[in-house]
Symmetry: C2
Subunit: 341 residues, 2 copies
Amino acid sequence: MHVSNHARPTLEDVAARAGVSRATASRVLNASPRVSPEALEAVNAAVLALGYQPNRAARALVTRRTGAVAVVFSEPEPKIFDDPHFARLIRAGARALADVDVQMVLMLVHSPDDQARAHRFLAGGHVDGALVFAPHRNDELVSIVKKLPLPVVYAGKPWGSLRGMHLVDNDNEGGAVLATEHLKSLGRKKIVHVSGPLDELSAIDRLNGFRTALGLDDKAVARVVEDGGFTREGGRKAMSALLAKVPGLDAVFVASDLMAAGALETLHEAGRRVPEDVAVVGFDDHVAIAEHTSPPLTSVRQDSDEQVKHMVEHLMKLLRDETVKSKKQMLPTVLVRRESA
Amino acid sequence: MHVSNHARPTLEDVAARAGVSRATASRVLNASPRVSPEALEAVNAAVLALGYQPNRAARALVTRRTGAVAVVFSEPEPKIFDDPHFARLIRAGARALADVDVQMVLMLVHSPDDQARAHRFLAGGHVDGALVFAPHRNDELVSIVKKLPLPVVYAGKPWGSLRGMHLVDNDNEGGAVLATEHLKSLGRKKIVHVSGPLDELSAIDRLNGFRTALGLDDKAVARVVEDGGFTREGGRKAMSALLAKVPGLDAVFVASDLMAAGALETLHEAGRRVPEDVAVVGFDDHVAIAEHTSPPLTSVRQDSDEQVKHMVEHLMKLLRDETVKSKKQMLPTVLVRRESA
DNA sequence: CTCCTCGATGAAAACCTTTTGAGCCGCTGG
DNA sequence: CCAGCGGCTCAAAAGGTTTTCATCGAGGAG
C-alpha cells in the first residue's frame, strides 16, 4: 500500500486536540456563524497543527455533492483540437475551477460511443454540474445533456431552443461588425470574408456581422464569402478561391486567426502586399498567432479566459441554488489593431 | 435542488429487488467469485432494471480509493501550451483514463503558487495516483512529488536521480539517430541541427542522437547547432542563424515539427529549395503540421497516444499493487518519410 | 428567586458501500 | 449417524463527515 499509511488525521482528531466535539469542529470548517470565538480559534489551531484535510469522499457522501464538475468538449473532428483555442479553454477551465476548489473532470466527446459514455457518467451523479462546449449544429450531445437534471452552463449558443439554458457567449456578431467597420473606415471598397464552417453558430454570427455591416443580400454574400473551416489550410484555400472570384479585393475579414495565418500565406504567394494592397483582420486575437504573422495581425479579441471564468462563476451560483439573475451573458469583443489593417 | 431528487437507487434497493442481501449484491458488482450463478443473474437483472449506478463517494469512503488520478503538467511558460503536442497529450490522457473508468483531474502548474496548490492537493489524498509531465531541468515540482507517498508515473525522464521512479519515455536519442542517418544516406554532407531548449531532457537526447550519429565533438556541435526553443518563431530564427553560420548547409534536422515549420519558412524566404538544396527532417510527426508544410515534412514519429496509454496502464498496475516488472519503459520511434527529405 | 430565552455545544443519526466473521446447508468420509 | 468441510449467504461494523435535536448554561425579565 503506497497510499499514506501514516493515517491521515480525521475530524475526530482535530476535535479532540481542540477540546471540542466533532460537530463543533465541523461547524468551524464550514464557517457556520454559531460558534464561539474561542472554539473557532482552537479548532483552527488544531487543523494547522495536524495538517488536517477533510476527507472528500466522506463529505460527498453526506452532502450529496461531489465537489467535481465536468468540462465537456463535443467535437466530431478530433483534429480541431489542434487549434490552440482549445488548449486555451482547457487551461482557463483548469485554473478557474481550481480557484474555487472544485475538481475538473475533462470529457472529450468525439464518437457516439463517447456520447453514451458521457451520458452514463453525467447521469451517474459523479459530478455536480457541467460546462459544455458544443459548437456544432444538431449536436446529439446537447439533447442528451438537456434532459439531465444537472446544472449546465454552455459556452456560446448551442444549436436549438435556448429555453431555460444558461450560457456565456462572446459577441461574435458585434466583433464582426467592428472588424468590418474598421475595414470600411480605411476606405476599402471590395471587402470579402473567410468564414468558419457554417454548422457552427459562432461562424454564422460572425458572418452575420460582416453581412449587416456591409448591408449585403444573399446573392452578394455568395459572391464574397468562402468557408475556411476554421483551419489554417482551409484559410489558405478560401483565400485562393476569393482571389479568383474577386480579383480586385482590397480587404478581407477572416473569422479566425488560424485561418488568417493561412490567408496571409496565400496573399503573400499571390504577391499582394498587406496591408497596402489588401487589409486583413482576424478573429480571436490569439496572441501566439496574431503577433507572429507577417505583418502582425489586426484581430478581434474574444477573451476566452474571461468567458470560462464567467461560466464557472455562473455554474457555482447555480450550485448554490441562488436564483441567478441573468441566464444568457454576452461578453464584449474589442478590436486589437496591429499592422495588417 | 436540481440534483436528482428522483432518489437514485441504492445497493440496498438492488439487493431487495434481487432477493439477496446487500453483501451479495456488492460481491456481484465487484466480480467476486464466491457467488452463485442464480444470485449473480438476479442481481445483474436488478441492476439493469433499476439503472443502478454505484455511489462513488460511498465506495471511496470504504475502499480508501478515490477512483481519480491527477494529470499534472508542469510548465513555467504557459504559452508552450499553444503547442499542439500538449493538446494531444491531454486528449490521450482523457481517453485512456476514461477507458479504465477513472476520473482525470487535470492540473496545470505554472507558478510557485500553483506548485503549492498542487502539493496540497496531491498530499490531500484526493487522488490515487498521478501522471506527471515535467520536462524541465530542476523542476521544483518533481522534488515535491517525489516526497509524496503517491504512485506516480512520469512522462519522459524528469531531471535528477531516477531511483525508484516509474516512467515512460520516447526513444528521443534513437529517433534523432534515425533522422540523421537518413540525411547521411541521402548523401548530405553539411548537416546542421535546430535543437529544443537545452533545459529539457528530450531536447538534449535528440541533440545527443544527432551528435553521435555524426561523431561530433563539443566544438563541432557549437558550430552546427542552434537552439530554437521548441517554438515556431524560434525555429525561424535558429534557421536564419544557421544559414549565416554554415552557408553551405545541405540538410537540417529540426528537433520538433513546430520549429521545422518555422525553419521551412526561413529556407523558403532565403530562396533555398527543399529538398533539392536543403533536406529537412522534423521530430514528433505531428500530422496537423507535418502534412501541411510545403513540402510535407519528413519527421520522426513519437506516438504520444501510445506513450500516455502505457503510462496509464503502468499506473493502474501500481495501484493494483502488482509488482511491476519494469520501471522504465522506452517507446520506439520511427522515421516517416514525406517530401522534405 | 423562578422562569424563559438564546446561544453554543454535544450525542447520535444518516449518507452508501465494502468487508469480516459467523451461520447455514448439504454433502462426504469415517 | 456424526463430524467436518466447502460453498454461499447474511448481519453488522467500519469508513469520515454533516446535520438535527436535545441539552446545558448564562443572562434577563418578571
